[in-house]
């Protein structure tokens, strides 16, 4: 029996309008800076603002550092859980989900109590140490996404047999991890990395309360004081996020063939 396609099409059209109309409106408003005509003035002003460049560079650097530390923490953990400690999987999954249920403000106040300038590990005493603390807080914040992405990638390959095959050929675990496991969960790592990038680049609460010059607080500052620049920034932030999603799709497609040969 042939089913009608009208219903699904209506749902798609409503969904698309729900997401696209506000975006179009925001974009249209961001072009209205010059009276009576459309222009990209608001974008030019934002891009020329040294605080934009500083904060964007700072957040980009924080994202990259977060991704590197996150990957070095999550990949070996997921590998050992898969290989030797499968019974701990539930506990680790629970721990990695905590940042989703604990509000960022609670996390950051916890950090401030633990690592304030009079604590046993004073990490808020200078800018560099506070930036490092912020980076670790971002690692915690991105754990649910990074762990899930990497764990899914690990489950898609036969980690145990690949490890045993490499061991029988004389390899020790660092070689196995870097030359056999890492390349085969590359797509999963990249997915986690782009999600992390998208989260860190716009994060406000932690950066603001730790008083760091990140992109999130800059977005908030501009939003509170200007009219046309905030929608321009919002559109730019959306484009960065979309670019990340696009890269996930791009790399995911490229690696499909590689996954076929694992089993």
């Amino acid at each position: 029996m042939k089913q009608s396609k009208v219903g699904p099409w209506i749902a798609i059209i409503i969904g698309t309008l729900y997401f696209v109309v506000p975006l179009i409106a925001t974009f249209e408003f961001s072009l209205r800076m010059r009276r009576g005509e459309y222009s990209f003035d608001s974008y030019a002003i934002v891009l020329a603002d040294p605080r934009f460049q500083e904060s964007f560079l700072y957040s980009t650097f924080q994202s990259l550092a977060t991704i590197i530390v996150g990957v070095l923490l999550v990949v070996p953990t997921a590998y050992w859980i898969q290989l030797r400690l499968p019974r701990l999987r539930g506990i680790v999954e629970f721990l990695t989900l905590l940042p989703l249920v604990i509000p960022a403000i609670c996390l950051v106040f916890g950090y401030l109590r633990l690592y304030n300038s009079s604590s046993w590990l004073p990490m808020t005493g200078n800018d560099t140490a506070t930036s490092v603390l912020l980076m670790f807080s971002y690692v915690a914040l991105s754990l649910p996404y990074m762990y899930r992405a990497v764990d899914t990638g690990m489950r898609a390959i036969d980690v145990r047999t690949l490890t045993e095959a490499a061991e029988s050929l004389g390899a020790k675990w660092p070689t196995i991890l870097f030359f056999v496991i890492f390349p085969n969960v590359r797509v999963a790592i990249l997915s986690g990395a782009f999600l992390t990038f998208a989260i860190v680049i716009g994060e406000f609460t932690m950066a603001s309360l730790l008083d760091r010059p990140a992109f999130g607080p800059y977005l908030q500052l501009i939003g509170a004081n200007r009219a046309y620049e905030p929608p321009a920034l919002a559109i730019m932030a959306f484009m960065i996020t979309w670019a990340c999603m696009g890269f996930i799709q791009l790399f995911g497609r490229g690696a499909r063939g590689a996954a076929i040969g694992t089993v």
């Binding site: 045993e164 095959a165 004389g170």
Partner: protein, 357 residues
């Protein structure tokens, strides 16, 4: 001293004993198969030799060296897995070269060795392909080349042909055996396929419930099974209960009809009930030869299998199957027809262990 010696090997997972009292001595260059049903402990034993499982007790010595305490990467043992386990991110040549690179061999030597191995497995032109671009049979040949490239002391194969279709299985098993003979490498092959074990091995270790039931050449295992399990697992077999009439001369009764074994039954007593076995191909409808055993019965079932006709004959309570070649000039017998079957005394296998009457 044998090249590979396994003594009193045991393995338990909690309260579950998986391998018990496993003893085996393998000569250099020998091809040994571990044969048994799923869960009999054959793969666990192989994995203990490879170092992926730690024995609960016992010793494993390769070329005089006790390897039980060694990490798998230090044992110089090549392993081929059922799922091929080729590294998907590497080409065929990179896969074969992996072990040599880990051993930090000079790149010229690695190149030569990889070429040599690819020629050996008859895939010299496929070095640049990725595993997903190969068929299952080709992937398993690459896995074999990768395991052999490091010149292992022992080659272990864990059901390497199970994932392949029947035709490729037959051709690949011949190739594996040819490569093994060419290199003279000591090999242990795990399989649950009796045909594979019989056709490839110098000796077969038949395992059941974690224990070794019999070790012998394929000829011995097939023709002289020692236990009921070996007899029933290897090949098709008629299993019958028989009463010992005279253990000295080997006279026994099957369904009250006298027959004799080719020799005496030294561990039996008159009146004991024993299990006897007969291969279908050893039984014939020909009854004119006087020095053969004869049993009278009725034809219960006739199955036409093409080149072979399988006939089941019912006696006074038990039945046996026999195979005859298809003869287009002679139609198969009718069901219900009385018949006399015969077999040579030496084909009657009296198995160990007394049965309840």
């Amino acid at each position: 001293m044998a090249f590979l010696e396994i003594n009193n090997l045991r393995k338990s997972f909690g309260a579950n004993r998986v391998v018990e009292n496993f003893d085996l001595a393998v000569e250099r260059g020998e091809f040994i198969s571990f044969l048994g049903p799923s869960g009999c402990g054959k793969t666990t034993t192989l994995r203990m030799v490879a170092g992926f499982e730690t024995p609960t007790s016992g010793s494993i010595r390769i070329d005089g060296q006790d390897v039980v305490g060694l990490h798998p990467s230090q044992r110089k043992v090549g392993m081929v897995f059922q799922s091929y386990a080729l590294f998907p991110n590497m080409t065929v040549a990179q896969n074969v070269a992996f072990g040599l690179k880990v051993a930090k061999r000079p790149s010229a030597e690695i190149g030569t060795r990889v070429e040599e191995m690819l020629k050996l497995i008859k895939l010299p032109a496929l070095g640049g392909r990725y595993p997903y671009q190969l068929s299952g049979g080709q992937q398993q040949r690459v896995a074999l080349a990768r395991a052999l490239a490091i010149k292992p002391r022992v080659l272990l194969l864990d059901e390497p042909l199970s994932a392949l279709d029947a035709k490729i299985r037959v051709s690949l098993r011949e190739e594996i055996r040819a490569v093994q003979r060419q290199l003279g490498i000591t090999t242990i092959y795990v399989t649950h396929d009796q045909e594979e074990a019989l056709s490839m091995s110098d000796r077969i270790v038949v395992m059941n419930e974690g224990r070794v039931d019999q070790i012998g050449t394929p000829f011995e295992i097939y023709n002289r099974p020692r236990t009921r399990f070996v007899a029933s697992f290897v090949g098709t077999l008629n299993i019958l209960k028989a009463k010992i009439l005279d253990p000295v001369s080997g006279r026994i009764a099957i369904d009250d009809q006298d027959v004799r074994a080719s020799r005496g039954i030294p561990d039996g007593r008159a009146g004991d009930i024993r299990t006897v076995a007969l291969r279908p191909e050893a039984v014939s409808l020909e009854n004119r030869v006087s020095d053969r055993n004869h049993l009278r019965g009725v034809i219960e079932e006739v199955s036409f299998l093409g080149s072979v006709v399988r006939i089941r004959v019912q006696f006074n309570g038990s039945s046996i199957s026999l195979d005859t070649f298809n003869n287009p000039g002679l139609p198969p017998p009718e069901r219900g027809a009385p018949v006399t079957v015969s077999f040579a005394p030496e084909d009657l296998l009296v198995l160990e262990g007394t049965e309840a009457a």
